[in-house]
Subunit: 244 residues, 2 copies
Amino acid sequence: MSDGLRVLPVLGLPEVREGDDLASLIAGAVALEDGDVLVVAQKVVSKAEGRVVSLGEIEPSERARELAVEERDARHIEAILRESARIVRVRAGFVIAETRHGFVCGSAGVDASNAPEAGMLVLLPLDPDASAVRLRARLQELAGVTVGVIVSDSFGRAWRLGTTDVAIGVAGIAPLLDLTGQLDRAGYELHATTIAVADEIAGAAELVMGKTDGVPAAVVRGLALEGEGSAQELVMPAERDLFR
Amino acid sequence: MSDGLRVLPVLGLPEVREGDDLASLIAGAVALEDGDVLVVAQKVVSKAEGRVVSLGEIEPSERARELAVEERDARHIEAILRESARIVRVRAGFVIAETRHGFVCGSAGVDASNAPEAGMLVLLPLDPDASAVRLRARLQELAGVTVGVIVSDSFGRAWRLGTTDVAIGVAGIAPLLDLTGQLDRAGYELHATTIAVADEIAGAAELVMGKTDGVPAAVVRGLALEGEGSAQELVMPAERDLFR
């Protein structure tokens, strides 16, 4: 049995606030090694970047009022609409939307849980790939290590219950592993097999992060990944999307 | 930093054939510990169970011939139709179907790669949950360990490129972790947050299994999971499915 992978929670991080140097907090909490992939929950990246709005500052539109059924707050719906490039489905006040980044997810990523205080909503980073690139560069600067960085979020899926964490920002790794043209053990070519390794890494990290216990980052050690890329590569192009 | 998780490939397994005692092969290849979750690729479970068909034995139906565009083999399409409870989408000879188990996936899980020989197709197990239960019981018998078992397969997703491995059979763990009612750090209740941990575990295992290098199983060690359940719990009920 080889050494395989280790998935290590980053413990002891303080509550993150706008303007915090997140890379510095992480570098102080964990001894990163070259080749590690650091997974950071979107929520703390957004907080550090000030991507938070107060419900009190939001004036709901007519459309938001229409959608706010079953005790849903029209101001919360309005925040979702503002973060959406396209509404994919709506049912019972629950909105599945495509964000400006092209991600299809519940509430366009707008979330009231784990917000700094009640009445606050946390939005997705404006450019999660850029967030990952900045974190990676700053960790190189502070700790002298070359790591991959994934900004992760919990997305629901079509056809399957429960959320899994996926990559919404990537730096220093290729998010897709393309096996097209490789041969299996019987010499049969693996047609069009592309593995979303960045999403699998984000999911693995979630297993040690949890949602409630204040572990917003994890390190995956032992991957032998090559390449570069961005989370935009994980977005299904519209012309190939059978479920718009 | 806590010890976190380890994800260990099970190395040295032989090519699996119909009738093989898969649990015995695995118990001989890896020292399992109580609380481990063993992830086994569907392909070897299906081979051990004889869920393989030869293209030569298949007479394509009229419908299969209609769908077999762009060099697709009508017999392969016919095998997909036979494994399908419902066709969800078809484009350019590529079929997304709901299997009899309720899983929505490409080609209803029918796959020519990693088949025992050219001209063979591997089908999903008839009852992957039952396969997981049998593997778990046999490992208990052979190695005296109490482990969770996941039978995994690589599924594509709506809206995102690339496959991730997910759980199609589960034994000895609860596949969903329901956080509804728990409070986050700010005391805000996490409404309707349910994490598909079995799918995240399957994805983590994929990272050490790969598709081409003959590692059809992996062990995830260090999870503190409770409960019982089946992969059927991961299937979105039709009445909640917005993407049928």
